[in-house]
């Protein structure tokens, strides 16, 4: 299977600390894959490399056949690598709809002059952007909150809004950093279907960081396990469940093969 995003031999050092050590990793086209590992394993750091926020000490990131290792974050985002944040980072005093529309920045053409003059082309574009934002909010199930301020949304709705905002980039790859954190088991179960809908309806490849093993095992086609910056296992959910190194890494955390 061809991969849409691949990381090759990524190493990240912070001072003396090696947060990610020689990790290679592929996101297959239209695949749903997961990155798991204990706290501090380097998962979020790896996301930050893929999205250009940090530059790796060594290694390369390839996206859609091109090297993007050195690109600035906003270019990587505009090229179609979207993400959500482990600790929600919405634009609090903007409405839900506006949050989504911010992410359309790179698609919209309006300039300072056309905005001030309110030219028809700009108005049309703006209207279409509004409609797209509304439909994305509907898609993630929070259509009613369009004119509410992000800061006022419930925790679960804020997580959904983060997904809607990421989708507004019209990405080819979506990186979700612990999307079910703070959700109850029912919401998490619904979430599994939701991830499938994103992939099936929008044709987006998805990489998840997830702590909830029930979700991971149900949703992932392949799983990669990090521990202390090292890739210790890779495979299908069934393979990962029975992998002794994975079980060892998770021992004492109460999340094992039996889950």
């Amino acid at each position: 299977m061809s991969s849409i995003l691949s990381a090759e031999h990524i190493t990240v050092e912070f001072g003396g600390l090696v947060a990610v050590n020689d990790v290679s990793f592929d996101i297959p086209e239209k695949g749903i894959v997961s990155l798991i590992g204990p706290n501090g394993a380097g998962k979020t750091t790896f996301f930050n490399i893929l999205t250009g926020l940090y530059k790796p000490t060594s290694g390369h990131v390839m996206y859609d056949g091109q090297e993007i290792t050195a690109l600035v974050p906003h270019k990587i985002a505009a090229a179609g690598v979207a993400r959500t944040f482990q600790n929600i980072r919405l634009f609090g005093s903007m409405t839900a709809e506006e949050n989504v529309m911010v992410a359309m920045h790179s698609h919209l053409k309006a300039s300072l002059a056309t905005t001030i003059l309110g030219l028809p082309s700009q108005r049309r574009e703006e209207k279409a952007a509004h409609e797209e934002a509304r439909s994305l909010l509907e898609f993630v199930g929070i259509g009613k909150t369009a004119t509410e301020f992000a800061r006022n949304l419930s925790y679960g709705d804020q997580r959904r809004l983060e997904v809607a905002r990421a989708l507004a980039l019209r990405p080819k790859v979506l990186l979700l950093d612990e999307p079910t954190a703070g959700m109850n088991p029912q919401e998490s179960a619904v979430f599994v279907d939701f991830v499938h809908r994103i992939r099936d309806e929008k044709g987006i490849s998805i990489l998840l960081i997830e702590h909830d093993m029930a979700v991971v095992m149900k949703v992932s086609e392949r799983i990669t396990v990090l521990d202390r910056g090292e890739k210790i296992a890779e495979g299908t959910p069934a393979e990962i469940k029975s992998n002794p190194r994975v079980i060892e890494a998770y021992l004492g955390k109460g999340v094992g093969a039996g889950h």
Binding site: A77, R89, F91, S93, V102, A110, L112, T115, T147, L169
Partner: protein, 392 residues
């Protein structure tokens, strides 16, 4: 909670309706003021006239409109994009000197007239005010980009420091610009005066045509309001607010940080240039010593007092503080001194007052005295929200 949910309903409708009703009522008030001073003022009893001369002279009304123009420019930088600029006076100075250079007899080696109503025989460069305003804006905007491009990469604290230095250096250059390698750039501390009258509909607006100037300044301020609101509602305004809210998240959503910040800075500088040129026509000259740090601080206080990013709040903040600065403080001071037989120089404390207001606002009321209803709502709900999230 229940009340705030009710309040949130129909917010969108209310917002656009309120913008329109604000605009209409502001215009009506302006026309009322203009009609009063133009047609009725002379017919009122002497007591009324002298009251106005002490507490609300027409020149203060005009001056406060100049402040509104500049405060709205700074609001784009500080209020929308969240970039702390402590040197906005530099752009005001550029605008002022542009008026000094291009609409006065200062460069008397040449004799260039274009669109100006001053006599063709007077030497110097005499361009139409409207043209000079654009030149002033372009010069200020250009320097905004020059100073912004390297510094906007810095963290916001450093940006504040660099702009502070810039705001000190530029007026100094003008103050000492009498002889720059033999070239007289600014006439030094003597300043440049008079500047040409504004010409409109074949009429020259001299120092005493305050009514007409009022209408022109009001028109320009209204343009600033229009532009501010238009930009806010579009692609660029959203990107500015996103940067203000969370720069990192904005860049992860495809917003180019440098370019977007630089645009905010340049648009702010552009407006500051316009404000400076307008100010020159208001005081009929350019005087180097007026371009000092307190202007930057007063403007900042106007933006903060009015509620960062809230155009209507900033206007009210600007009007109020401009009045205090030009009339309120001296008039209150005189009353105080007469009553208590003291001789305190109240206006000399303006800097202290506005600096103090700024500090107090930042400590206790960051969303301004007149926050947008929504901002107020947020900052109050934020309290119980932080305690909520702990439960998840």
């Amino acid at each position: 909670m229940a009340i705030s949910i009710l309040k949130r309903k129909n917010k969108k409708q209310k917002q656009s309706a309120s913008a329109r009703s604000w605009a209409i009522s502001m215009t009506l008030i302006a026309l009322g003021i203009w009609a009063f001073f133009t047609y009725l003022f002379d017919k009122t009893p002497d007591a009324v006239q002298s009251w106005f001369q002490v507490w609300l002279p027409p020149s203060t009304i005009n001056e406060s409109l100049v402040w509104v123009i500049c405060a709205l420019g700074l609001n784009i930088v500080v209020g929308y994009a969240g970039l702390l600029d402590l040197g906005f006076v530099a752009f005001w100075a550029f605008g002022g000197y542009a008026a000094g250079w291009f609409m006065s007899g200062f460069f008397n080696q040449v004799n260039i007239h274009f669109g100006s109503m001053s006599a063709k025989t007077i030497p110097g460069i005499h361009l139409s005010f409207w043209l000079v305003m654009i030149i002033a804006a372009l010069i200020a905007g250009f320097f905004g980009i020059i100073i912004g491009a390297p510094t906007l990469r810095l963290k916001s604290d450093y940006l504040a420091l660099v702009t502070l230095g810039f705001g000190e250096i530029i007026p100094q250059v003008f103050t000492n610009g009498e002889n720059i390698g033999g070239f007289n750039l600014s006439n030094g501390t003597k300043g440049i005066s008079p500047v040409d009258a504004i010409g409109i509909f074949g009429k020259r607006l001299g120092p005493f045509d305050l009514g007409w100037k009022f209408l022109i300044y009001f028109f320009l301020a209204a343009c600033m309001v229009f532009v501010s609101l238009r930009i806010r509602g579009g692609r660029l305004g959203r990107a500015w607010l996103a940067i203000r809210e969370d720069e990192l998240a904005a860049s992860m959503m495809g917003v180019p940080l440098m370019r977007t910040k630089l645009t905010a800075y340049a648009v702010g500088a552009f407006s500051g240039g316009i404000g400076g040129a307008v100010y020159a026509t208001h005081v009929n000259g350019i005087f180097a010593e007026r371009f000092n740090f307190s202007i930057s601080i007063i403007l900042l206080a106007m933006v903060v007092l009015g509620g960062m990013g809230n155009v209507w709040g900033v206007i009210i903040g600007a009007l109020l503080m401009a009045w205090i600065n030009a009339t309120g403080l001296p008039a209150i001071g005189d009353t105080f001194n007469n009553t208590f037989h003291t001789s305190i120089n109240f206006p000399s404390y303006n800097f202290l007052l506005f600096g103090g207001i700024l500090v107090l606002m930042m400590l206790f009321k960051r969303d301004g005295l007149l926050p947008e209803a929504r901002i107020k709502m947020i900052s109050h709900e934020n309290d119980d929200e932080t305690s909520n999230t702990g439960g998840h």
